[in-house]
Amino acid sequence: MTASAPLLELKQLSTHFVSARGTRVVRAVDEVSLTLRAGETLGIVGESGSGKTTLALSILRLLPTAARIVGGQVLFQGEDLLPKSDTEMRRIRGKRIAMILQDPMASLNPLFTVGDQVAEPMRVHEHIGRGTAWSRAKELLRAVRISAPETRVNEYPHQMSGGMRQRIVGAIAISCEPALLIADEPTTSLDVTIQAQYLQLLRDLQRTHHLALIFITHNLGIVAKMCDRVAVMYAGRLVEAGPVRRIFDAPAHPYTEALLESIPRLADPHQRLTAIEGQPPDLSALPAGCAFAPRCPKVLERCRGEAPPTITIGHEHVARCWLRGAG
């Protein structure tokens, strides 16, 4: 693979949820295109229901049964993941692409020791013996800064704090040295100082293992701190994507702009917040044109009728908005 070829490339990926009778279709992910290079960090930002988690699950093909990938391609290291069989996908998950979920208590098995769970991916994917896997598990626990890993390997998840559990999930994720790590709201359940510890740890792991990271979050602060590039989702669509500094300095889409202005800032605490009026839309009954049009402060007549195309604003910076040019 050449250095410039992307590690992961999504091309017009669409995932829909279809009701049992097929009468209601929810376009959870709608024609999303993204690229990610090796070692890079991409933040996917959006509110609940914007499709960010469905997008991540579509990459790993871990969708619930009602969801269907109806179009597009997921190119990972040059090969399309969508036509792969379940067996082939199992060899990729945990080995080449790993994922960290929001709630560490739900992603660890309460009946197995921490050592068993950290060693499991290595035994499954790399077929190494129990003893070797066990000693590598201890090293991994040390790498994620668990103190006294020799005793901790024999303990169970309930004996640990939330921050420690999330670090153990991190150890499992990096155990087979994946090329891509997807973290879905990894610090939402953690306290502020523990969150800072965990973000620092993820950054160190990324550097030492040359990981590409996808950060799924609703928190723009995490994006500002951790990411090289950011993709903003609204109602299943990618509304803006680009380098993180560009997006924060000169957002092109009114939704991104409004989101950035709606968060309180420590540096300027008494400024009035700019609220986004209205509510996020119902995904099964989206408006005809741009989904953000009903809440958009800069709405044009055209926005209500026609969905805007993806428009290139600058280097690697795209936005879906009529304000940025007529199609």
Binding site: T193, N219, A224, K225, F248, R265, Q279
Partner: protein, 349 residues
Amino acid sequence: MTQAPALLEAANLTKLFPVKRGLFSGPPGMVRAVDGVSFTIRAGQTLGVVGESGCGKTTTAKLVLRLEEPTGGTIQFEGRDLHTLDGRGLRDYRRSVQAVFQDPYASLNPRMRVAGIIAEPLVTNETVAATALTKRVHELLDVVGLPARAADLFPHEFSGGQRQRIAIARALALSPKLVVLDEPVSALDVSIRAQILNLLRDLQEQLALAYLFIAHDLAAVAHMSHTVAVMYLGKIVETGDAELVAKAPRHPYTQALFSAALPSRPPDAGAPQEEIILSGEVPSPLNPPAGCRFHPRCPYVMPRCSQEEPPLLMVDGRLVGCHLYEHGSPAADQSVGAGFRSAGGEAAR
């Protein structure tokens, strides 16, 4: 800022929870959830309480709401000690102090219509004619920015932000003087949070409400509050003017907490990152460390920190509980600022 009159004054407030142990394992332990905390809420102003989980901020709210009896200390409301109030006085107190909770999916009864939810405090506390009641409900809905037809709907027909508006309308029904806001926006979507924070600020201005605002989002607390109190393991470690504390924190824990707060924009390329990352986790309140409770995680820990508990002293216009500041502030202040960068790097390892 002009000093508004004190509405509620808590002095040396303490709440211990006994922990049951096994039959033969000795006397029951005590969780010192809130330990000798004093604060003042002024009329029409906001006191923000910040801290991590387990620091006692929700217990403090419950003590103020009289949902828990304090083990020690006093709360005075408009100059009267709550402990001395009889049934009638207590009922008056409860009318003056209302609450909005974190999860609007759990705090509204799913089997009641919105009109019934908002009118309930009025029905239980006052004798109001049915027509006046409907009028009042519509007024309250209007105040929180909901249409009058919302009155006939059920909570499940509303989004999270709208439900929080209903909860706020209910809290305002009795025209309280103080509203306790326990994480009022943490369950809401990002684009909705600003709506609710703006609404709360507008209401404060219109109705001269005082707020006890509890949150773990530091920027939101700094945005909403006139005064803040930073809690750690049941103690206030620093308290004072919100802007002063947020912009130039003095206690090592406050400094670490505000340094761990996420930036509102990406750092400039090449700008030095002054980040303080604490090692370790919050110890159990069942067996808090002796002396200063922060000393096992503190980057400046001195021998006396593990023996003596630091008193709250006035440092640069706010109260700080830390031995570093005991002998005058400016000199200690500079050495702390400089020492932190290196010590922070150390602690991160």
